[in-house]
Amino acid sequence: MRTERAISGPAATWLKKRNRISTVEIAFWLTTLLPFVLFPSYLSLASQIAIAALFALSVDLVLGYAGIITLGHAMFFGLGAYAAAVLAKHGWGEPLTGLLAAALIAGVAGFVTSFIIVRVQHLALIMITLGLGLLTYELANSFSSITGGTDGLSVEIWPVLGIFDFDLWGYTAYGYALAALFIGVLAARRIVNSSFGLALTGIRENSARMPAIGSVYRVHLQKIYVISASMAGVAGALLAETTGTVSLDTLSFQRSADVVVMLILGGTGRLYGGIIGAIIFLVARDRLSDLNPQYWYFWIGLLLMAIVLVMPGGVLGGLARLFQRNAK
């Protein structure tokens, strides 16, 4: 990362310390391997959770770390999904290059829109992200010759690395999505624990002050927005590739809203908040809708309300406070 100038002294040691992987983290990643052995029939669910977690992580980078509240991130998710699917439709179903293409397309879209995003704040910012997302949705509906319109596209994806075919159980899908999520988290934690990441947090806390201490805050914001857009694009492409289909709902407001709900549920600005949120939200949804396919969202609603009232700041925020209190 170019912004990471060579810094030394106590600041560098502090950053390095923050960057160290904790035992809790190692334990967490080992747990993510359990579904392979313990619940193989839940692997396709697990793969969709991993994808949602990666998407939530991308939103955390802008929302949690840079303070950009977005209700339109599905725009990048969907663009990534379509990038991979359209490529496959035209005869190139190689998954890894599909991810690259998705990152590129979503990143470019992120770069273009970032010029608008960094110039507005508060409600206007939320509404512009929402508006851009909805406009992209309508565009995709209009260009149905490319996107397949409401019917969407179903595509043939080649085996990952030429070996692992996407199977009915979801072994490949989960392994693939989990690997992507792991790399995404590694990348994200490097970013947020760099001097660039600290500058972002500074902007979030006080956007008027940062320029005063010489921080080019708009450029910083644009940069993180592009990174986040690419990551969301990769998540979208993962969904398109692991399911072999893509449709307009990948771009929908519903998806933008869901991911923000998952992130707040888990806790913002904590890297793992989105992952925890995605796990809780989607597992609860799966279990509840199994028990009660018609009215499950009543219970989801109650769950969300309860979590806000009991643990404002999300599950991780609540846990962090609990530990702090015990440590005192």
Binding site: P40, S41, Y42, S44, L45, Q48, E138, N141, S142, S144, G149, T150, D151, G152, S154, L161, I163, F164, D167, L168, W169, G170, Y171, L239, T243, G244, T245, V246, S247, L248, D249, T250, Q254, S289, D290, P293, Q294, Y295, W296, Y297
Partner: protein, 393 residues
């Protein structure tokens, strides 16, 4: 190492499949029902499920000596990725023998590959785009296709002497299909389309589009919009601008005059002509019995075309199982379903052995007041209509 794991996984998978086929030999056949039961299409899913459940209530939960077990899943749709995952889970976890439901085309397309891979019968109880049945040799449809109804309707309209029509359809796949097939039928018989507009799928207010139609002052208007809030909205907008029969002929696919829409449009709906494959008020003992039983089971809610799609889908499953003597493998059931024909509450229907798609009557109905209540009264029947698009490309 990688290769080894892959082989091991493959082995495990094979074993599991073997296990699932032994489970088959037991006394139950599991039917996985994948429907949108929450979100904006919740009503579609709910009506299909009610149709399915009514059939099971009337015919018991046994077919060919096997117990039929239903597993219901919600997609919250339109969500093809969720639909595909649910189909996968139904096959690998619940060991479902048949997957059914599918309220929306993208969801049916998403799950199609699972049906092919797992070799399971997939009954499409609603999704109405022609191409669905072509996506897997295991798909059989018991609902309708949009070209089926509207191509026939277009021809019929021109044969009635209507020369000029203005079309307005919802701006999405099904709307475009409806526009194209109506226009094709209409123009083949000498009619002329004088204007064609697309309204956004989630359009709350139709005044602008209706004003455009009024400015063009056509002889007839053809409308296709999804069910829900829009039929009443466009119906009322037409009435407000004075575009009502008999001065302007209003033609539409049946959604426009569903009972709730008629209730809210009131007298201005009189004279609207629609084409559809199911008519609630069709005078036929089987239909009367179906409607009465349905309303009794569901607190007075009347059945609609979604319900009958689910009801007939279930009939297809039962009848196919009887024919295979309980063999629930996909190949046997599809073979049994091909060419099957029966008397449904909507009238005589059959499954085209070549396309696995439904063949049925298209009813032309006019809104009239019967005993003080607005109804769709059948004024003409076009018999045994096939989807015109299959094999056309």
């Amino acid at each position: 190492m990688l290769k080894k794991t892959a082989t091991a996984l493959g082995l495990g998978f094979g074993l599991a499949l073997a296990m699932s086929s032994t489970a088959l030999a037991g006394g139950t056949v599991k039917v996985g029902l994948i429907l949108p039961l929450s979100g904006q299409f919740a009503d579609t899913g709910a009506q299909i499920e009610r149709g399915v459940k009514l059939y099971m209530q009337e015919h018991g939960d046994e077919a060919a000596g096997k117990k039929i077990e239903l597993v219901v899943k919600d997609t919250g749709g339109p969500n093809p990725d969720v639909a595909k995952r649910l189909a996968q889970e139904l096959v690998v976890r619940d060991k479902a023998d048949i997957i059914a439901g599918f309220g929306l085309t993208p969801e049916a397309l998403g799950a199609a590959s699972v049906a092919t891979e797992a070799k399971k019968l997939m009954v499409d109880m609603n999704a109405a785009t022609s191409v669905v049945t072509e996506k897997s040799p295991y798909i059989v449809r018991t609902s309708m296709t949009i070209p089926q109804v509207n191509y026939a309707f277009g021809k019929w309209a021109a044969e009635q002497g209507i020369k000029h029509a203005y079309t307005i359809v919802a701006d999405y796949g099904p709307g475009h299909d409806a526009e194209k097939s109506f226009a094709k039928g209409f123009e083949e018989k000498g009619g002329k389309i004088v204007g064609a507009d697309h309204s956004p799928v989630a359009n709350p207010d139709f005044s602008a589009y209706v004003q455009r139609i009024k400015a063009a002052n056509p002889e007839a208007v053809y409308i296709f919009i999804p069910g829900g809030a829009q039929p009443a909205a466009i119906g009322k907008a037409l009435a407000e601008k004075g575009l009502t029969p008999p001065d302007t002929k209003i033609l539409a696919q049946g959604e426009l005059t569903l009972p709730e829409a008629l209730q809210s449009m009131g007298q201005t709906a009189k004279g609207i002509i629609t084409a559809f494959h199911y008519t609630l008020e069709r005078d036929d003992p089987l239909n009367k019995k179906f409607v009465a039983a349905y309303e009794k089971a569901n607190n007075g809610r009347a059945p609609d075309f979604f319900s009958v799609g689910g009801y007939d889908g279930m009939h297809l499953i039962y009848a196919a199982l009887e024919k295979t003597k309980g063999d629930a493998s996909g190949d046997a059931l599809v073979a049994a379903a091909k060419g099957m024909s029966w008397e449904s509450p909507r009238g005589p229907i059959s499954i085209d052995p070549e396309t696995r798609d439904i063949v049925q009557n298209v009813y032309i109905r006019e809104v009239k007041e019967v005993d003080g209540k607005l109804q769709n009264v059948i004024i003409d029947t076009i018999k045994d209509v096939k989807d015109p698009l299959h094999g056309a490309k």
